[in-house]
Subunit: 661 residues, 2 copies
Amino acid sequence: MVDMDKLKPMANAIRMLSVDAVEAAKSGHPGLPMGAADIVTTLFVHHISVDPADPLWPNRDRFVLSAGHGSMLLYSLYHLLGYEDFTLDDLKNFRQLNSRTAGHPEYGHARGIETTTGPLGQGVATAVGMAIAERIMNAEYGDAIVNHRTFVLASDGDLMEGISHEAISLAGHLKLNKLIVIFDDNGISIDGPVSLSESGDVVKRFEAAGWAAERIDGHDPVEINAALARAAQSDKPTLIAARTIIGYGSPNKANSSGVHGSPLGSAEAAATRAALGWECEPFDVPEAIRDAWRIAGLRNSQAHKEWRQRYEAMDAEKRAEFDRRIRGDLPGEFAPAMAALREHLLLERPTMATRKASERVLNTVNSVVPETVGGSADLTGSNNTKTDHQSPITPGQFAGRYIHYGIREHGMAAAMNGMALSGGLIPYGGTFLTFSDYCRPAIRLSALMGTRVVYVMTHDSIGLGEDGPTHQPVEHLAALRAIPGLLVMRPADAVETAEAWEIAMEHKGPSLMALTRQNLPTLAPAGAAKNRSRRGAYKILETAAKPLATLFATGSEVEIAVEAATRLNGLDIPTEVVSVPCFELFEAADADYRAAVIGDAPVKVGIEAAIRQGWDALIGSDGIFIGMTGYGASGPYKALYEHFGITADRTIEAVRERLGR
Amino acid sequence: MVDMDKLKPMANAIRMLSVDAVEAAKSGHPGLPMGAADIVTTLFVHHISVDPADPLWPNRDRFVLSAGHGSMLLYSLYHLLGYEDFTLDDLKNFRQLNSRTAGHPEYGHARGIETTTGPLGQGVATAVGMAIAERIMNAEYGDAIVNHRTFVLASDGDLMEGISHEAISLAGHLKLNKLIVIFDDNGISIDGPVSLSESGDVVKRFEAAGWAAERIDGHDPVEINAALARAAQSDKPTLIAARTIIGYGSPNKANSSGVHGSPLGSAEAAATRAALGWECEPFDVPEAIRDAWRIAGLRNSQAHKEWRQRYEAMDAEKRAEFDRRIRGDLPGEFAPAMAALREHLLLERPTMATRKASERVLNTVNSVVPETVGGSADLTGSNNTKTDHQSPITPGQFAGRYIHYGIREHGMAAAMNGMALSGGLIPYGGTFLTFSDYCRPAIRLSALMGTRVVYVMTHDSIGLGEDGPTHQPVEHLAALRAIPGLLVMRPADAVETAEAWEIAMEHKGPSLMALTRQNLPTLAPAGAAKNRSRRGAYKILETAAKPLATLFATGSEVEIAVEAATRLNGLDIPTEVVSVPCFELFEAADADYRAAVIGDAPVKVGIEAAIRQGWDALIGSDGIFIGMTGYGASGPYKALYEHFGITADRTIEAVRERLGR
């Protein structure tokens, strides 16, 4: 079945195209593509189910190159298989500005790239999310429509990163048996032999996490094939630790760290050609080998056709729903349900923490949007992320909509990326805002890729009280607002919380909610115009007279601003309040609206229980800022607000001092 | 030897003091102290070598409560042992503002708290650094002076966090056999049973990482004692997985997640008293039990006294050096050596990447400061962190000054905290700046605790070129500057790099260097006044005429600013340049200096290949910013600078447009 004489030259085509592209770019990583070429050749010729003619076929197997630095492996492979976004010109433009073939695989640059990789460990953890998504969609749509596998090629670095632990223990726990990780075990890291820093037993480690695991020779297609066949039968996720030689084929550089991240150089590239018996010019591939790859690219067209028939035969309504979810459109019921909820909250005017308000909103969201999948990193009761509609998914049982992620913030965030990328699901997950630091690399990837993921981050300031400085976010709002493409929303009351969720669900990219532990009153006046948060900031308290002061605040501090303004107005100091639930949306608002909201009051004050960074854009560098300048403290939250001077009294004092009255 | 009748009531004293303090605070975590009381009682009565009369005795064993939420365990224990910073009043003020007994243990609040814990996983990983430090100091000073152990009490959450993987694999690799982690395996997490999210085999996991590991009954002092005795003989680090009952002693709440993070309530507290036969008032401890604890507190005074004799007997010079290092003072040779290096660089005027300049500087630093310990997360050749003086430490061999941390940025950062806390060492470690995200929780703890750790972060902008958006920091400078207490330094040339290192070494807190991959010219004029970076910003190019424009820039963009200013001056538009190597130091500079540097030129321009956030403090919200607004791209770096318009041309154009000339 496995024809070595056929596979070896096919693998060499990947090797040499990769070498040639790295030479042309004068930069890149030839070592991994050369080392792992036999693995992916066997995988794609005999096992994986993808159709290059339709790279987005919903039921395709997913392939994640977690070791993103080996991007030329992916590009060469896809080129040879016939993916149309990977032409020979694309290969020749490797690592050039505006090319589809970036230094690391970038999601969205070309169809076939399932996720952005490069930051190590992310691919493995994202793939866990893809594998979860597949099972959830399978539970919904059945084997006929959703039934595929997720393959990962990972490097030493991927498995040394902490996130890999979170990912593999979650995958093992859930028995994601359709997830197969192939470890390109080449024994070489950048500093030298991996043994400089690692002496663990990877097979035992994965077994301890509930995986099937074995070691094979990564240059022997027979062993690779047999291991992949065993993986297909496993009731657990599978690790295949494949011993390879980095830079395989290079006579003088193979098996050394020198071949990891630098071009071979023309002499060594020529020597490699000779050693592999590759008798053609750079970027050329002998016709027989091209043909073999083209045939490999056609292998699943029949399976795809049969899937298409089953898809066409679906109940029309069910199919329309499937299409809607894959497209990422929200159901028609969503907008009216949110409008009704908003009306209701405006009338009810609850006093509640925004984390609790978020739970209220999620009750509505989850009842009309069947594709949401909630979860928390072991803070379900604190993050208020679980609603009555949601039963948890459990090991091997995926007919549920809630995930107990465990204390794995980073793994959760990456898994949510994977779910969002996989299609048909909208994941949200909770932790404390201070622990956004633990999942920041994955949040950045959400933003870079534009995945619709909602981070529900509660306990968003010193307002959490006694848990103290380690748990009190101070710099996190600024640090998160710094991430391009992430909507950071800090609603002031239940109404704004509903608005924030509406925005997040509609946004084709990631959002992050910063929610309070402590209770807040409803501030929006009954009958307030609809979703005022959409433009990021709005006047929540206006004055008839031209204002002498404008107070800008977010979240829990809007209450303080409103109290201060009310009292200042009573002192004949006309004062307005602007609620700023989302800096990013306000920055994107049109200039006239921005100018009108910012206004020209002589005194501008920002109030946020966090650091000033970023606020000057609203209040100017001469504005007054009422907030934090350092870390918090452990104590009851009201005492902390007093202690740090984040109060209406202090605000009034500052405004009066500035105005001299 | 192990006297159950004695130990059980001693453990109950910890339980009840913890219950009482949580009741008084109406907030806190009673479950862990109640569950783990037997473990720490056996540990402190029979094994650990500390002296409450001198909590900072350099050769004490270290005890890290990684599960920081169980802080009352530590406070009760230290109170009972006789640590003077833990009075009964301190216990009664648990979780109150300005108390020493914060919600989570805060380093610096009281002697005896070895490190700040609460963010899960950090304690374990910090302890790995302490254990490394102990071995390095032992290699230097011998068994007579440095020879102690590091004990950790960890929870489920600590071991689920990804950082635990990095920490334990590093510890296993290095064979840190004096590190003992006791896992409080209570089977309960916040969401419910740990089995909701975890089904791994912890013993097998640790064995796979090269540890000795076993399971015991955490309520049986005989088993605890025997396991600790075995650990003392191990040639590997040891995990003791101790099965416990969370909230042990509470008749109705034990073994449930309800006892994890909330007070028992007065009725259940009373029921617990009764169940444990604890016949005294809240905060009271029967005299016999107090005495038993006091005696336990005296157990190591003889050992301490003997150590003191050995210490007094040390060679005077060696002892003075030991004292200096423990105090954290730099050697007298440091300042002159740095001054000489600076002079040399001013004359030589090298054109080199600041990462390479950093290596040059480290050659000087490491030759005069014997306590530096360098390392990199597998990017040694890229971070330029290793100098000729440094041989690596290897498994079981600690006579070295360099650590190959592996691809473990988070574990590295936490280990560096542990080394700095342990005393006598100044750790620095490298990775790419974009991967600061991977170690952010530990960087935050460096800043919160004020540990002298130097983060060497290279490849600090789109200037790294082809590796593309995942590797190009854009928001990281802002996000790091947001962390209170961290010095972020981005030197513009080799001279500023030397200045930055001088500042970092003298600073009693963490510093982070953002260094280029690409070459930069020396910009400082020969004969420039000494260490101009100390105040964070200074005029690097002045004009005779009153300036119409001031260009502020950092790092690699200072070159662009100087070119633009030179050309603008040639166009009769007087333009100054301010180099801003460190925002934090400039913010701390006196107001007059700040005002003089900022000046009052009508046009202010900030230039940094990163986002604008934070810059308004220098250039005002109406200033011009030449930088990034989103993610980078893959391509040669000069093409990227052109593409994103971070050039002298663009700067000149913007200034002229603003001035209308």
